[in-house]
């Protein structure tokens, strides 16, 4: 537990620092002079065409899903990599079986074009 004390204190400090910095402009709020043109969205000088909450490309969603899968794979790799001396060859081949399944999935998505155009 004593190892984690600095982490919590440091977390508290960084929260304090960033929130103080974000809250600082409120001290100068009295002089603010805002008008609608200043507050509207920037679109090279024009009034914004349509709403910003429009549809977005599905490929971003695909990238996120793929990231989750590979990130979990890597998370499983961590304890395996560290204890490789204790689990010898049997442990190595077990992880290789896991990796094979995921690699087949990776090849499938590559061939189907989930990684294309972006």
């Amino acid at each position: 537990m004593s190892e984690f004390a600095p982490i919590f204190i440091y977390l508290g400090f960084s929260l304090l620092v960033s929130l103080i910095l974000v809250g600082l402009p409120f001290l100068f709020f009295a002089n603010s002079s805002t008008y609608p043109e200043k507050l509207s969205a920037y679109e090279c000088g024009f009034d914004p065409f349509g709403d910003a909450r429009s549809r977005f490309d599905i490929r971003f969603y695909l990238v996120s899903i793929l990231f989750i899968i590979f990130d979990l794979e890597v998370t499983f790799f961590f304890p395996w990599a560290i204890s490789l001396n204790k689990i010898d060859l049997f442990g190595f081949w077990s992880m290789m079986a896991f990796l094979l399944i995921l690699t087949i999935g990776f090849l499938y998505e590559w061939k189907r074009g989930a990684l294309d155009w972006e």
Partner: protein
């Protein structure tokens, strides 16, 4: 001065009353403040360095009016941004808009916990050091998405999505490279029990210690050349520096997810970018370049050792100096790369991350594992 962790633990072991336990926790404020001071000065130096190096590359003079040689330019910029008006876009989500930059900064600041500047000069000597960095740096894309969405601007939203996609795509080759390094097999010749517990080997201090044997030739750079190149490229992409600069491409997206920001929140993004750069350079030093080890082999080491052991503070200073010198070497390389190479398109970028770096880093991991097992 940074407190020796073993001394703090002896203080803890002498405590018998509950009051003393609370005080023990608060002792950490001093090293934490020292670290925050170091980081702040580091960022100021990087900002100045970037402007001077970019000026030299473009054959012009950099900042020269703010303080001697323009050293105070970063402080001048920060003060100016502090006094700017803080705009909140009219139909944006105010809470997401305000919190976005803070999350980006906090996640990068937390990464400094596990960087060792010396043998005991590390804030949190966890057994899972580098894993903590990987996990916390994955929080940054949330901040980018929040900023992009909360701005109520089509270009910000698109920029935020692209920035988040870029960030997460390069996390995986980064993690795989780091994994290849923490793969260590310590096999005793006759199956003896090792003198220290080698169970949790993602500790940054252990990684540096493992590179300390042959001076210059003991670096992980030579053991993992492919991993080093992949790590370098991935960390530049994580920091959103050129050539992976697309979220801030002025011609395409105005300023990406930072378009609607002004004043101190803009400064927070700026700060997060440079902090990320500094922590990446420090991690390159720790993981590949031997950290605080004085890396010239066969120099009269016994003499230096005597100095290091007798005057502990002198030894610690040398360690910090060596770590920072190696990190600044990488900073120089990053800054020069930024001002030399053209920008990549988003599809080239994501292709590079998924189709090139991911298979290569997986291959590197398998290569490392098999070579370790063959020597069993």
């Amino acid at each position: 001065m940074i407190i020796d962790t073993t001394e703090v633990q002896t203080i803890n072991s002498f405590s018998t009353s509950g009051f003393f336990k609370e005080v023990y926790g608060l002792i950490w404020i001093i090293p934490i403040l020292t670290l925050i001071l170091e980081i702040t000065i580091g960022v100021l130096v990087i900002v100045w360095l970037e402007r001077e190096i970019s000026a030299a590359i473009q054959q012009r003079i950099g900042p020269e009016y703010a303080g001697p040689l323009g050293i105070l330019q970063a402080i001048a910029d920060g003060t100016k941004l502090l006094l700017k008006e803080d705009l909140l876009p009219s139909r944006g989500d105010i809470r997401l808009f305000s919190v976005g930059p803070s999350i980006a900064v906090i996640s990068v600041l937390l990464s400094y916990l596990v960087i060792p500047f010396g043998y005991r000069l590390v804030l949190a000597d966890l057994g899972i050091g580098v894993f903590l960095w990987i996990a916390i740096s994955s929080i940054a894309p949330i901040g980018l998405l929040m900023s992009g969405y909360g701005s109520n601007n089509k270009y910000s939203f698109s920029g935020g999505l692209r920035a988040a996609a870029q960030s997460i795509s390069y996390e995986i080759p980064l993690t795989l490279c780091v994994l290849s390094i923490s793969l260590r097999l310590e096999i005793g010749r006759n199956d003896q029990v090792l003198p220290y517990d080698s169970d949790l080997d993602s500790s940054t201090v252990d990684i540096v210690e493992a590179q300390s044997k042959y001076g210059f030739w003991g670096w992980n750079l030579w053991r993992q050349p492919i991993g080093f190149l992949v790590f370098l490229i991935s960390s530049l992409a994580e920091c959103e520096r050129l050539p992976f600069d697309l979220p801030e491409a002025e011609e395409e997206l105005v300023a990406g997810y930072q378009t609607e920001y002004s004043g101190i929140k803009y400064a927070l993004f700026y700060l997060a970018s440079y902090l990320n750069l500094l922590v990446s350079s420090l991690f390159v030093t720790v993981l590949y370049l031997g950290g605080w080890n004085f890396s010239i082999p066969y120099i009269p080491i016994p003499e230096l050792f005597r100095i290091n052991q007798m005057a502990g503070i002198f030894g610690m200073t040398i360690d910090i100096f060596i770590t920072l010198a190696k990190a600044y070497l990488f900073l120089f390389i990053s800054i020069t790369t930024r001002w030399t190479l053209p920008r990549m398109r988003i599809d080239q970028l994501l292709n590079l991350g998924w189709k090139f770096l991911l298979p290569i880093s997986l291959g590197n991991l398998l290569l490392t594992t098999s070579s370790q097992l063959v020597s069993l």
